[in-house]
């Protein structure tokens, strides 16, 4: 009797290396922006110093802890899938999504206050201030906005992983998709680890 054997080719190591190459490009993108921030901070020391005082350190700290906590729940979810505990993994991924949304809501309120005070790029109030203020808030909105976009992409990625776990496309033997999602989510963490002190703490 003729037997048909279907073999599926999968290379998890190549998948992981590919994800890391993408992460390196992202790190370089943000490193370039950090460099721009540092150069302008030296150029407009007083303006940056005063502008940074407009940011709320408490909200920034709460957001940092939320993001770090979401990193832990993502890690827990990865371990849960490794142990074959899919229900727990799903619950943790949903919690990670909720934490990401809470971070974005906090960011929205923070941005809204700045908009109400006229501290956004192109506003007549901001243009009337010093060049340091204009540069600080320009970079603040661009860099935190870019970070927020990465976070939204991460949320979409997590939802894809949730779907894959439900359809049993992620198993203890097939973890590459979950691992890559986890790597991406931690990249979002990594970027915030530098954004937070640069904008909120060094003034």
């Amino acid at each position: 009797m003729e037997q048909i054997q279907i073999l599926q080719h999968r290379d998890d190591t190549a998948s992981r290396i590919g994800m890391w190459l993408f992460i390196f490009t992202e790190i370089f993108l943000f490193a370039g922006l950090f460099l721009v921030f540092i150069v302008y901070r030296f150029k407009y020391l007083d303006g940056f110093h005063l502008a940074a005082k407009e940011l709320n350190v408490t909200i920034g700290t709460i957001n940092s802890i939320i993001l770090l906590f979401s990193g832990m729940t993502m890690g827990f979810s990865f371990v849960a899938v490794q142990k074959g505990n899919n229900k727990f993994a799903l619950a943790l991924l949903i919690l990670t999504v909720l934490l990401g949304i809470i971070f974005l809501v906090n960011k929205y309120f923070e941005w809204r206050i700045k908009f109400q005070h006229g501290l956004y790029p192109g506003s007549s109030e901001l243009i009337a201030l010093s060049k340091g203020d204009v540069m600080f808030f320009g970079l603040y909105f661009f860099m935190t906005g870019l970070h927020a976009l990465h976070l939204i992409a991460g949320l979409v990625f997590i939802i894809v992983v949730i779907g894959a776990i439900i359809r049993k496309r992620i198993t203890p033997e097939k973890l590459a998709l979950h691992e890559n999602c986890s790597l991406y989510w931690h990249l979002v963490d990594l970027v915030w680890i530098f954004l937070f002190p640069l904008f909120y703490l060094i003034n």
């Binding site: 073999l7 599926q8 080719h9 999968r10 290379d11 998890d12 190591t13 992981r16 290396i17 890391w20 390196f24 790190i27 370089f28 490193a31 950090f34 460099l35 540092i38 150069v39 030296f42 350190v57 700290t61 940092s64 802890i65 770090l68 906590f69 990193g71 832990m72 890690g75 827990f76 990865f78 371990v79 490794q82 203890p172 033997e173 097939k174 973890l175 691992e179 986890s182 790597l183 931690h186 990249l187 963490d189 990594l190 680890i193 530098f194 937070f196 002190p197 703490l201 060094i202 003034n203």
Partner: protein, 97 residues
């Protein structure tokens, strides 16, 4: 074609819990440092050093560089060194121009 199923060896829930506690404490330490009056420039240096330590914790433990293939750790080391070189050279150019 050979099927390949490579798994990253991680230390389980405990590792992620410990790294979360470490990262949170370092974040709070950075916030606390802003309330202390050090010599000019020292606070910024300390805060950025703390951020660098946090980044290393995330890279090695949360992103599994400590447990993954050696080649990836070498690639990451090279990429980060190149990034630091880029920052240092640009800053030197900016300061001494």
């Amino acid at each position: 074609m050979a099927m390949e199923a490579t798994k990253s060896k991680t230390s389980g829930y405990r590792m992620y819990l410990i790294t979360f506690i470490e990262l949170s404490l370092l974040t709070l330490l950075g916030v606390w440092l802003t309330t202390v009056n050090f010599i000019s420039g020292l606070t910024a240096t300390l805060i950025l050093t703390i951020a660098a330590i946090q980044a290393l914790i995330v890279l090695f433990y949360n992103m599994h560089l400590k447990f993954t293939e050696k080649i990836l750790a070498i690639f990451a080391g090279l990429a980060i060194s190149l990034m630091l070189l880029l920052i240092i050279v640009t800053m030197l150019d900016y300061i001494y121009r």
